[in-house]
Amino acid sequence: MTDASAPTPAGASPWGRRLVIAIPYLWLLVFFLAPFFIVLKISFSDTVIAQPPYTPLLDLAQGWQGIKDWWAGLDAENYGILFEDELYVASYVSSLRIATIATLLTLLIAYPMAYGMARAPKGWRPMLLMAVILPFWTSLLIRVYAWIGILSPEGLLNAFLLGTGIISEPLYIMNTETAVFIGIVYSYLPFMVLPLYASLEKLDDTLLEAAADLGSPPWKAFWQITVPLSLPGVIAGCFLVFIPAVGEFVIPDLLGGSETLMIGKTLYNEFFMNRDWPVSSAIAVLLLLVLVLPIAIYNNVQAREVGAKT
């Protein structure tokens, strides 16, 4: 112990460490924070028929006066529109509802899958993991298109069910909310399975033996031991599915009907059909707030729990 005050290991300079930490922060700054502020700025602008289609524009050539003019031209009018027009509120509510139901369905299907994988013989596990990840090798768009081929009235599913005589009338699943649920559950299943598998695989078998030894039959031990200890995986998986599902655009657009309202579709229409950049930016910013708030609260609770432990 020649130098007890140095917290860094011998040879590693504090600058090297700072550099390593700086890289991901720089990445987030350039590719996340900067675009976010641009979107935020546009959301306070007004739409015009021009290129770009919003005003005011920040003109730094005018110096201080240019900044003042730009600042004076900004207002929160677009956010008012979001709350006045029922379409937007309904889109948000419908998106949250669809994402919630889809997340729960994904959890119900993913938990037994992950449990089976974690209990499988050790040699099989890499192969099973591979099978879960395999769909990522094909483009999401192509996979969603494939579901059209399966779910349409003349599709594979109906052909099979009609052919085997299980049903006599074709099922109309395409262009309904059911198709959207199927699409979301299918597309996001790996995001739920992987964190669940990670937490279930760590579970110590002797804990289940101890539960059995103390008089708890296997089905009770599952609820008393396995489920609580896999809760971190459940929460991580639900966030990973719920957050992108709320803003999902491709799946409701391709599989859902005209009555399936989702905020991603509404945003797309505002941006590309109406060319109303300010309102679509406001939609995006509000969506971010809707999603960030619960996560922030959850993180806060988590941090406090960890703080209480130490």
């Binding site: 033996e209 059995a212 030894d213 031991i225």
Partner: protein
């Protein structure tokens, strides 16, 4: 580390307690010709043991000898391939672990990480749907028993290793099982704490009047806590006896070598008369006389514990039997004991001699490279034929 010298009396430590000597006593646990195979590997090979109520019984052996498998079969985590296990007359084969009146303290403790100390201890009681007040009272009693009252609401990761060990013990005792199974319970503790806990376990077992079955590979631990020890090797039972008998009357070379240190002299029986056997040992070129009986011409080993061998530079008394001359090869001073390794004259045999350091002196009477005599009484050794 040499063992403490054995008591002269070879009976049980608790002298009044020896139900295994009473032919009319009914054992609590019976293993009858139990065999367990995992594929081609026979983990437990035709083991029969009777364990009596209120006994502290130890299964002792090296790792992989089948002792843990035997215990897991009693807990219900493994089913025997053949044979019967009964507890208080009830056949346990086919009874799932959650219906068996035994509880186990796991080697890894297996505490539920998401539950507090209190909840861990109450877990088994809640499974029995006991009234809430009774559960609370029982948890309090257990916390007091293991002296963990101030830590009731802590989670396992906030405890030290010794405290976790106590929680595991309290949890397995809370249901007042007929038999408590202890799987290497003190393996993770340091030496001082382990010794302390061994004595606490014995007190606890006496106080609660329960039957304890402990699995350990540590012979000192088994000798300290157990009324009787079953020594196992390669899935087979080698000897079942009290610690004193195991130490002083090992049944074979394996037990003699596994428990403590021992000198084994390979010899041939020359004559046997009047309870005294004359042995010729080609190994050290000497004639021994030993208490016992054996057929002349048989090959045997004379086993003598190091503390029963005497050592001196001066010649022994004229009437001393079994005298060997030699040279001090090595000395190990252990504080309470000194161990001398003596190379016997005209042979490669190293004789191990230990002496209790009863006098406080800085110089040893025998030093390195001294020419010495070692000798032992005819009744100091045991004849081993296998």
């Amino acid at each position: 580390m040499a063992l403490k010298p054995a008591q002269k009396a070879l009976g049980p430590i608790r002298r009044s307690f020896a139900p295994w000597l009473d032919p009319s006593a009914v054992p609590l646990i019976r293993f009858e010709n139990v065999v367990k195979r995992f594929g081609d590997f026979t983990a437990v090979d035709d083991v029969s043991i009777d364990i009596h109520g209120r006994e502290f019984f130890a299964l002792l052996g090296p790792s992989g000898c089948g002792k843990t498998t035997l215990m897991r079969m009693l807990a219900g985590f493994e089913e025997p391939t053949s044979g019967r296990i009964t507890l208080a007359g009830q056949d346990l084969v086919g009874v799932p672990p959650y219906r068996r009146p035994v509880n186990m303290m796991f080697q890894s403790y297996a505490l539920f990480p998401h539950m507090s100390v209190e909840q861990n201890i109450a877990f088994g009681l809640k499974q029995d749907k006991l009234p809430k007040a009774e559960i609370e009272a029982r948890v309090k009693e257990m916390l007091r028993l293991v002296k963990l009252e101030p830590f009731a609401s802590r989670k396992p990761h906030q405890l030290s290793g010794g405290q976790r060990q106590r929680v595991a013990l309290a949890r397995s005792l809370a249901k007042r099982p007929k038999v408590l199974l202890l799987d290497e319970p003190l393996g993770a503790l340091d030496k001082k704490l382990r010794e302390e806990t061994q004595f606490e376990l014995m007190d606890l077992q006496m106080e609660l009047g329960l039957t304890f079955l402990i699995v350990t590979h540590d012979q000192e631990e088994a000798m300290t806590v157990a009324d009787r020890i079953a020594v196992m090797n390669h899935g087979k039972l080698v000897q079942v006896a009290t610690p004193g008998e195991i130490y002083e009357q090992p049944s074979c070379r394996y037990v003699a070598g596994f428990i403590g240190d021992i000198n084994l002299f390979e010899a041939e029986v020359a004559a046997s008369a009047g309870g005294l056997v004359t042995l010729k040992s080609a190994e050290v070129g000497a004639t021994f006389s030993a208490a016992g009986e054996a057929a002349p011409g048989a090959s045997v080993a004379l086993a003598v514990r190091p503390e029963k061998v005497r050592i001196s530079i001066d010649p022994p008394p004229a009437d001393a039997a079994n005298v060997l001359k030699g040279e001090v090869w090595d000395i190990a001073y252990l504080g309470d004991w000194t161990v001398f390794l003596v190379k016997a004259e005209n042979s490669e045999k190293i004789v191990r001699v230990s002496r209790a350091n009863v006098m406080r002196s800085e110089t040893q009477p025998v030093a390195w490279d001294d020419k010495v005599h070692v000798w032992f009484a005819p009744d100091a050794g045991v004849l081993l034929s296998s």
